[in-house]
């Protein structure tokens, strides 16, 4: 088994003491930010990225740390959802439906335990699937021509409108904004300055960390300052713990949720929120008569939490194998790799096995760490909810600016990050999703580069973009994704 040998090499990387320590730090930070409302994995990774660069961590170590924050957040979101009836992460919305009633009935500890086990199971089984599927998928993608890549990226961007909660034109417009932001600076193909508005600082383009920290970390705090919501926590203690029989009863639901979550995660565009909603609905349909869904059914906690973590891992598959991120957070991880001059995609597994396999191996270890951290220490993480907003957000904001400064040492970038913060705040108020902006930003240059290559190969003949069966199929799917919102609106 080729994959197992490669995975062995990955474990050699992941088991190095400093990488183990980074995975543990990432898991703790991930769970913590999952608990805290207002800070998600996306902001946290954007905030940590400057540290990785400034400390000159090797790319595989940086990715191990950042990815641990990413999948660790899937363990933390449930704590807030169950105890506060407030999702710590958007993908934990469904967990509130049964999780909070359970907590009110004094069974919060059982709900937390079953969701912890579910998170572990969903994530670990998905890592197993990823171990065996990534390389075959990458092999398919190696044969892709630049024209095929143009079609693939266009498809990924068109899906933004089809799967977003927001109106499709808003999602697509946000994607276009991201692409245009990516074009700022000296064009690598022709050496021409574009959209720099005469500013010297913008010649090198918009720094990815500045955009991500500005839009997400600063923008979120501006939004929070306007809304000021704070909820009361349900008590954790007391009540019966989780019995083995109850856990066994949840097992089939967890396995189904893993399947749903992984498949949804691998599809570009659809993320953990869709996966957890689908698997919750599936369980509710199956057990409609004998279940107490909505009033505190353990399976109603297990299914969405399992699917959430499975989808998070599934999201990483197209990011690593194709170089196309499936969600906002994986787009940030991709951006992190690009800052290290590593281009994820079909050649990553062959050329930088220590990065690709080191990450996959570290996820086996990280998820085991998370299970051990989360079962006994869940009370400690729940304490984080007691930190008042007036202490938490000043810290996050100061950390945002310090992080931007550590990378760039320029007041200009601090102001630029503030500008993106105001932009993110206003776009959110107007119902424009921000995730397409980062996706467009990381995919924009890739799209133009591949378009350029494709047109150079065809001597400027535009119809050559449709020549291969792969690109034809992808363009057809793109057209379907563009038309889908029309039908969706009729149906609703």
């Amino acid at each position: 088994m080729e994959a197992l040998a490669a995975l062995g090499g990955g474990f050699a990387v992941a088991l190095a003491p400093h990488n183990l320590a980074l995975a543990l730090i990432g898991c703790v930070i991930g769970t913590a930010i999952g608990v805290l409302p207002g800070i998600g994995p996306l902001n946290a990774i954007a905030l940590l990225l400057p540290f990785c660069l400034a400390l000159k961590l090797p790319p595989e170590s940086a990715l191990i740390l950042l990815a641990a924050v990413y999948y660790g957040s899937g363990y933390g979101g449930r704590i807030t959802a169950i105890l506060l009836n407030m999702p710590g992460e958007p993908s934990a919305v469904l967990t509130t439906l049964d999780g909070h009633p359970l907590a009110r009935q004094g069974r919060g500890a059982a709900a937390l335990a079953v969701s912890g086990v579910g998170s572990f199971l969903g994530a670990t089984l998905s890592v197993v699937l990823m171990t065996f599927l990534s390389v075959p998928l990458a092999r398919v993608a190696v044969a892709f021509s630049p024209a095929d890549y143009v079609a693939l990226i266009a498809f990924a961007l068109s899906l933004l409108g089809a799967v977003s909660d927001a109106p499709a034109p808003k999602a697509w417009a946000a994607g276009c904004l991201g692409v245009l932001l990516a074009l700022v600076g000296v064009d690598s193909g022709t050496g021409v300055e574009r959209f720099t508005l005469g500013s010297l600082e913008l010649l090198g383009g918009v720094e990815f960390t500045v955009l991500a920290i500005g839009l997400f970390a600063i923008g979120e705090i501006l939004l929070l300052a306007e809304q000021r919501v704070r909820a009361e926590a349900a008590k954790l203690g007391g009540g019966r713990g989780l019995s083995l029989r109850e856990l066994a009863a949840c097992l089939p639901a967890m396995l189904r949720a893993t399947g749903i979550g992984f498949v949804i995660g691998v599809l570009p565009g659809a993320g953990a929120s869709v996966a957890s909603a689908l698997s919750y609905t599936a369980e509710k349909r199956m057990h409609g008569t004998d279940g107490r869904f909505g009033q505190g059914d353990l399976r109603g906690v297990a299914a969405p939490e399992t699917a959430d973590n499975a989808a998070q891992i599934g999201n990483l598959v197209p990011m690593l194998s194709l170089g196309i991120p499936g969600s906002g957070t994986t787009a940030v991880l991709l951006g992190a790799l690009l800052m290290y001059s590593i281009t994820p995609g079909p050649l990553l597994f062959a050329q930088r096995p220590e990065v690709a396999w080191g990450l996959i191996a570290s996820m086996y270890i990280g998820n085991a760490m998370l299970l051990l951290l989360n079962l006994p220490l869940v009370g400690l993480f729940a304490r984080l909810l007691l930190v008042p907003a007036s202490v938490l957000y000043p810290g996050v904001l100061a950390l945002s600016f310090a992080g931007v400064y550590a990378v760039s040492n320029s007041a200009f970038d601090l102001l630029l990050a503030l500008g993106f913060g105001v932009l993110g705040w206003w776009l959110r108020k107007l119902g424009v999703p921000l995730v397409p902006i980062v996706l467009g930003f990381v995919l924009g240059r890739m799209l133009e580069d591949n378009l350029r290559r494709a047109l150079a190969l065809s001597d400027g003949e535009v119809l050559a973009l449709l020549h291969s069966p792969v690109s034809l199929a992808l363009w057809a799917m793109t057209a379907a994704a563009l038309l889908w919102p029309l039908f969706r609106r009729r149906a609703a």
Binding site: R194, I221, A402, L447
Partner: protein, 141 residues
């Protein structure tokens, strides 16, 4: 005018500006068939179409979101921070910023002061002592 339609209009203006600015891009010799102009112009066109789609009135009118002063106070504090960081140095500037943010988030003056000083000392210890990352020293060094 609903917020959604105003957004559409702004997006159309932005698309027009981007497309206009892209047309001024010229390369002395054409190395590749696409050039620097084609791609941004296409993206600007798509953006313009999205903006136009937002002009079409929809079922429910999208009301103006709530507006408060607090976020603008934060914006002013952050802009001041960006400009004062180098001359003041990291510790005082960050203490000032974090203290102001704490006030905006509803802290009383004394706890806000404590949050400000505590945050800046903690971050300074993390960046400067533990991780050895560059921070501006300012006049107080």
């Amino acid at each position: 005018m609903t917020a959604s339609r105003l957004l559409g209009a702004v997006l159309i203006l932005l698309a027009a500006a981007a497309a206009f600015s892209a047309q001024s891009l010229v390369v002395p010799f054409a190395a590749d068939p696409l050039g620097p102009r084609g791609f941004p112009t296409t993206v600007a066109a798509v953006l313009g179409v999205c903006g136009a789609l937002l002009l079409i009135p929809r079922g429910e009118p999208f009301a103006w979101p709530e507006r408060r002063l607090a976020p603008w106070l934060l914006v002013a504090a952050m802009a001041g921070y960006a400009l004062l960081l180098a001359p003041l140095g990291f510790l005082p500037a960050t203490a000032l910023l974090a203290g102001l943010v704490a006030l905006v988030f509803g802290a009383a003056p004394l706890p806000a002061l404590a949050t400000g000083v505590g945050t800046s000392l903690l971050l300074w210890a993390l960046f400067d002592r533990l991780l050895d990352l560059p921070l501006p020293r300012g006049g107080l060094g």
